[in-house]
Symmetry: C2
Subunit: 115 residues, 2 copies
DNA sequence: CGGGATCCCGGTTGATACTG
DNA sequence: CAGTATCAACCGGGATCCCG
């Protein structure tokens, strides 16, 4: 009865970081190289980008292709599984965009009432 | 240019906890009392349930109704905003359910290859 | 260029005990 | 029943330096 037995919690855990969803969205547009991703998801640290990418790859959501050039070049892209996940994420993204103002308003109201 | 200016990150931050989504789903079925929620989301600590509920209420996603009985009874339910959010979440939930096995398989493959 | 290794801090979480 | 208070542990994440 560990955490992995609950699909929701197990899958969500991987997306719970601050960065996974942003990275998946960037890769949904087009494949990105490491440095491109770093700029696309501005203010992610090199370390967290590396770690998050490895987790996503481990879960079979993204591909990692090394081109043995000098200097090296690594391309990341979505797998079929990853693409199908992003599709289910898009409604939530749009909701976040559309209702961000309402949430911020609710927060202000709540905080004011608490004071 | 703080974090709240990005709708995705701001909204996701609230759901990134381990518990928010589970609670929202439980409340989507029907309103729950505190103790019911605690059993529904088994192995959440009392403390985290309290904290998460307050955050969700602060964001305008759930309602909190106190019935001044003895002993006290508090009912939580979804707001309209909350219900609309859950609707956008459901595709992702179903995806998690359907693809949990695939993800676990990918993980095993990745870990085996790394060894 | 694309990482890995290390250090370290601070917020989040859990256990436990107490309360109206 | 539905919380609040306090304390300790943990771990996500940033900074920095190094490497092929």
């Amino acid at each position: 009865m560990t955490i992995e037995d609950c699909p929701i919690r197990d899958v969500l855990a991987g997306l719970s970081g601050k960065w996974s969803v942003l990275i998946l969205l960037a890769l949904d547009e087009r494949p990105h190289r490491f440095g491109e991703l770093r700029r696309a998801v501005s203010d992610i640290s090199q370390r967290m980008l590396t770690l998050t990418l490895r987790d996503l790859q481990r879960d079979g959501l993204i591909t990692r292709t090394v081109h043995p050039t000098v200097p090296p070049s690594v391309e990341y892209g979505l797998t079929g599984l990853g693409r199908s996940l992003v599709l289910t994420l898009l409604p939530m993204i749009r909701w976040a965009d559309a209702n961000h103002a309402a949430i911020r308003g609710a927060r202000r109201g709540f905080d004011a009432a608490a004071a």
